[in-house]
């Protein structure tokens, strides 16, 4: 159980690191972020919140990240790496679920399933409820 879990975490972390590094390399190589802020000059414009200005500083929805990736925008690549990182705890819970099921531990299958459902709910359902979108 332990080895599979720890390997899952490790691969997730390595994938996330790799993607973020690629994004940073793209950013320095192209001298731009693909969005409204200028990372080659004074980066104070890049330290702003995306809701502050009308032009998009960085993508924060799956749709905008996807279209940014298609255009190979560095910030979109970095956000992808971040999402992979955000997914590692979820994948870890999923792996635990499979392992507990394999051990036929009913109580913990139920417990882990509950946690997994709550997590998935938090990623996909709650963010789309308008009242929570500040």
């Amino acid at each position: 159980m332990e080895l599979l879990l720890s390997r899952t975490l490790l691969y997730g972390v390595l994938a996330s690191t790799g993607i973020i590094v690629i994004g940073l390399v793209l950013m320095s190589a192209s001298g731009s972020t693909g969005y409204a802020c200028d990372s080659s000059g004074d980066p104070s414009s890049c330290l702003l919140s995306s809701t502050d200005v009308t032009t998009q500083l960085y993508p924060s929805s799956l749709g905008s990240i996807f279209s940014g990736l298609l255009a190979l925008k560095p910030f979109a690549v970095i956000q992808l790496g971040v999402i992979v990182l955000l997914a590692t705890p979820v994948v870890r819970v999923g792996t635990s679920l499979v392992l507990f099921a394999d051990e036929k531990d009913r109580a913990f299958v139920a417990i882990t399933l509950f946690v997994l459902v709550v997590l998935i709910f938090s990623f996909f359902v709650v963010p789309s409820i308008p009242i929570f979108k500040a």
Partner: protein
Amino acid sequence: MAPLFFLLFMFATAIAAGIVGAIVGIGGGLLVTPVLTIIFGVDIHLAIGASIISIIATSSGGAAAYVRDRVTNIRVGMFLEIATTVGAITGAAVAAYINSQVLFALFGIILMLSILPSIRKRKEELPENVENDSWSNKLKLSTSYPDQRLKREVPYKVTRTPIGLGIMYVAGLISGLLGIGSGAFKVLAMEGAMRLPMKVSTTTSNFMIGVTAAASAGIYFVRGDVNPFIVAPVALGILLGANLGTRILLKAKNTTVRYVFIFVLFGIAVEMIAKALGVGI
């Protein structure tokens, strides 16, 4: 200010945060957030977004080693996560409507008060006279862990599980509301209430904080609180730091880990009270 300066500075800060965070079972946010807001004047919402990412990075970065070395108690962690995840979603969802200053004050005071019992226990390497409660018997939470410092397998029991569950809900709530700081509560709950050995408490907390943060991360992300320019060096630094931190913890004494924890607890409490008083960190 050159962009490279910002990236390298945050990278270095994040490494330090990751090392400490992986040892005491908290997220790296406590060091990253003030540096972002005080030194670089970053908006607090972006700092919180970076903090959530820091927590997940500390967790996933450290947990790989702790789980493999069987120090983390996966069953205790998973069970308590029922409470933390529900708390985290509730907290993150209503975060925009709550006056956080009151919460910071409350949180800071509670942490300050928690330092006293921790200091009293400072010479305690392993907990004594602990018996399982009915929950831990039914769920088979009690087990043992290999201690590299003591050079033996250490069996331990788990008690007062319902209280632990309750504290975990609050920890999750705080994490969702404020974006930082629930790791300290988790360690206090497991070590203080449920009487787990210190290293098991911090490593299990490290395992759990990632899930708690992930439960509120989605909401913060779509709100635009995650800025890739800030998060890239932070995530990378923390992952590296957490990896280094795990090597230190595995070889340390439980009492050493507790000393570091008390020190960090004090730091977080001061930070919380500063925020409560309106100091924008």
